[in-house]
């Protein structure tokens, strides 16, 4: 019932939370059945924590000052700070994080790819975690690139530690880290087709039969999200 009613899908975001990405439909995970309860018609936006405004508080401002012209957006959620940085500025930002005596982020803990199919134009995110041992601070840097052009620069030259992490993100998500010395698959076999942890890649599996009952594979079971 929602597909033919565009008014319902345009749900405003909740107050204070403005970054809506995609939407959630229905309630009990039933699709295409004669749900007469009305709950099947529910549509709710998927809302992520919104951009923060200055002052960020504590040491967050000091780090933001150091990176200032390179930052696209800052998100503070549950006491963790995330700097959204464009792919073009990533290497400059990483060099600054490592070398600036006021920042001193000595360690890059790694890269984690995330695939947001509903985040149109920036579907693939690479999430870096940086740690400053000098100041005991931890920040997150998030770079988003479109699925159609999944290129971002490699940080191997600045933080050699991300070598394998970038290979893993390439293997699992198809993120292409330009300038990586050997961007090959790391966990999957070399000739594996596709990038398994993307949301459009099926989990796979077969039904399990037990005492006459048949339990479908996990990705075909009822999903409540």
């Amino acid at each position: 019932m929602t597909d033919d009613n565009p008014e319902i899908t345009a749900v405003p975001a909740e107050t204070g939370e403005v970054r809506a990405v995609g939407e959630r439909q229905g309630m009990f995970g039933v699709k295409g059945s004669g749900d007469t309860s009305g709950y099947g018609g529910l549509v709710a936006p998927v809302v992520y924590p919104a951009q923060a405004q200055r002052p960020y508080g504590g040491w967050f401002d000091a780090v933001a000052d150091g990176l200032d012209p390179l930052i696209d957006a800052v998100v503070i959620h549950r006491g963790e700070i995330t700097f959204h940085i464009s792919a073009a500025n990533l290497v400059a930002a990483a060099k600054l994080l490592r070398d600036d005596p006021k920042l001193r982020f000595e360690l890059c803990a790694g890269v984690s790819g995330v695939h947001y199919p509903a985040d149109t134009g920036r579907e693939l995110h690479a999430v870096y975690s940086f740690l400053s041992m000098t100041f005991n601070r931890r920040i997150r840097v998030e770079v988003s690139v479109p699925d159609a052009d999944p290129h971002l620069p490699s940080l191997c030259g600045v933080y050699p530690a991300v070598d394998w992490h970038e290979r893993e993100a390439f293997d699992m998500y198809g993120l292409i880290f330009d300038g990586h010395p050997a961007l090959t698959r790391i966990l999957m076999p070399d000739d594996w087709p596709g990038h398994p942890q993307r949301k459009d890649y099926p989990l796979g599996g077969i039904a399990v039969e037990y005492k006459g009952g048949s339990i479908p594979p996990p990705d075909q079971r009822r999903s409540y999200s």
Binding site: V114, N136, R185, Q197, S225
Partner: protein
């Protein structure tokens, strides 16, 4: 080329050169084979070690370029134990996630659960609501686990250099820890005991006595390791100066844990960003100043003593907490069902079944909804790293507001630290490669996830 036609150990021609499959005592054939067909007998030899080699610490494949017995280049091939745990977690509820991630680094299951659970709790914003007793039990289990994990590291590391007594006594003591795990959680490995909101069960009766007995025994047994190894000339000859990596190298390659502490830098997340109340325990961060395999062995040995100190303190606290809750009070998050020991082993608590099936329909609905659908976690992302026996272990947990993890990525210390294998072993003897890897202590379940 090999003279015998052995299906398993022959040789073949490829575009990259001649390939030999060696099975021992056939070096002469290889040397002769290399010189055949006008080839150069001094040609470099690339050796594939593993993934089924007993000395590579699991299904780790090493690709070594040799000149005589000296390693000129070393690379790792990993992925042989990749089981898609992260992907699978996206198809299960938030609570079921612990059942999956506990299987990653199989020598430190509680740490996998813990970092994931801390991330979920941060997203749920219930970090301050976790009952004190649950936090103390988590610390207790993690420190017991740290001991069992370090014991396996020292035991297998000893076995790989031929010190079989170290192996047998290491596994002897680890068995005692696993017995404690079985008593407390019902399982020796893969516990899924630490859950979002607390822990699955209260301590069983008599557990504290067993733990105190274990601590007393370990205080006698740990010095045996020191007496056996610390000044043992053969042991020292194999470990001293091997796998050297200084502080700059560790930071550039992202190494944490005992490898980092063996450079003399006291970085321990339990001290620098405490979780679960670690700031209230009295213990010291152990360091060594040699940056080599021997230093890492000593760091691990000393850390076990520190873990015993924490376990004693945790046991003292638990003794005063009898009957206190171990799960968050919010009934929309706390797992409704409880387990109990019945005549046929552990199963659902009959009291709970009686309650939901016979007394309260609301309780039944509540149980059904939480177990099948699960709770929703507010959208956002969290990364709460903890100090696992191998270094910084962190789960990057992303939620889209649904009942399942949108993404759970584990920054496993074994995965990261294994990158240093090349730096540690290039230029050294082939036998030292094994020692260097053992000093990193990679667990392939965690590397490949």
């Amino acid at each position: 080329m090999s003279t015998t036609e052995d299906f398993y150990a022959g040789s073949s021609e490829t575009t990259d050169g001649k390939v030999f499959t060696v099975s021992g005592q056939d070096w002469d054939e290889i040397a002769a084979g290399l010189g055949e067909d006008g080839g150069d007998a001094q040609e470099r030899v690339v050796v594939n070690m593993g993934p089924q080699h007993p000395s590579t610490h699991g299904v780790l494949r090493l690709i070594l370029e040799l000149e005589g017995e000296t390693v000129t280049e070393a690379r790792c091939g990993i992925g042989y134990l990749h089981t898609g745990i992260e992907k699978n977690m996206e198809y299960r509820s938030w609570v079921q996630g612990t059942t999956f991630c506990t299987r990653m680094d199989y020598l430190s299951p509680f740490f996998n659960e813990m970092t994931y659970v801390l991330g979920v709790e941060r997203l749920l914003d219930i970090e301050d609501d976790i009952p004190e007793k649950a936090q103390v039990m988590r610390v207790l289990l993690m420190e017991l686990n740290r001991i069992s994990s370090h014991l396996v590291c020292i035991a297998t590391g000893g076995m790989e250099i031929g010190a079989l007594t170290v192996m047998t006594i290491g596994f002897r003591e680890r068995e005692l820890v696993l017995d404690l795990f079985e008593l407390i959680t019902g399982l020796r490995m893969n516990h899924a005991f630490i859950r979002p909101g607390g822990v699955a069960q209260d301590l069983p009766p008599g557990a504290l006595d067993e733990i105190r007995g274990f601590v007393a025994l370990m205080k006698k047994r740990l010095p045996e390791y020191a007496a056996l190894c610390n000044a043992n000339p053969i042991f020292k000859a194999r470990l001293d100066g091997v796998g050297h990596l200084d502080l700059e190298g560790c930071l550039a390659l992202g190494l944490t844990g005992p490898v980092l502490r063996s450079t003399g830098y006291p970085w321990d997340l339990r001290k620098t960003s405490p979780y679960s109340g670690y700031e209230t325990y009295d213990f010291d961060v152990q360091t060594w100043d040699t940056s080599d395999s021997y230093g890492r062995f000593r760091v691990r040995l000393n850390e076990m003593h520190e873990s015993l100190k924490i376990i004693e303190q945790a046991a003292d606290r638990l003794a005063k907490m009898e009957g206190e809750p171990v799960m968050v009070a919010d009934k929309k998050i706390a797992w409704p069902s409880q387990l109990a020991i019945g005549s046929d082993g552990m199963g659902n608590s009959l009291d709970h079944i009686r309650h939901i099936m016979g007394e309260s329909m609301e309780a039944l609905i509540h149980h059904f909804k939480l177990v099948t659908e699960g709770f929703r976690v507010p959208a956002g992302q969290a990364y709460v790293p903890i100090e696992s026996p191998r270094g910084e272990l962190g789960a990057h947990v992303v939620s889209d507001g649904g009942t399942r993890p949108f993404r759970a990525h584990f920054r496993d210390p074994s995965f990261n630290n294994l990158q240093a294998m090349g730096v540690m072993s290039e230029g050294s003897m082939i036998a030292d490669v094994i020692v260097a890897i053992a000093s990193i202590d990679p667990v392939m379940g965690g590397v490949d996830r």
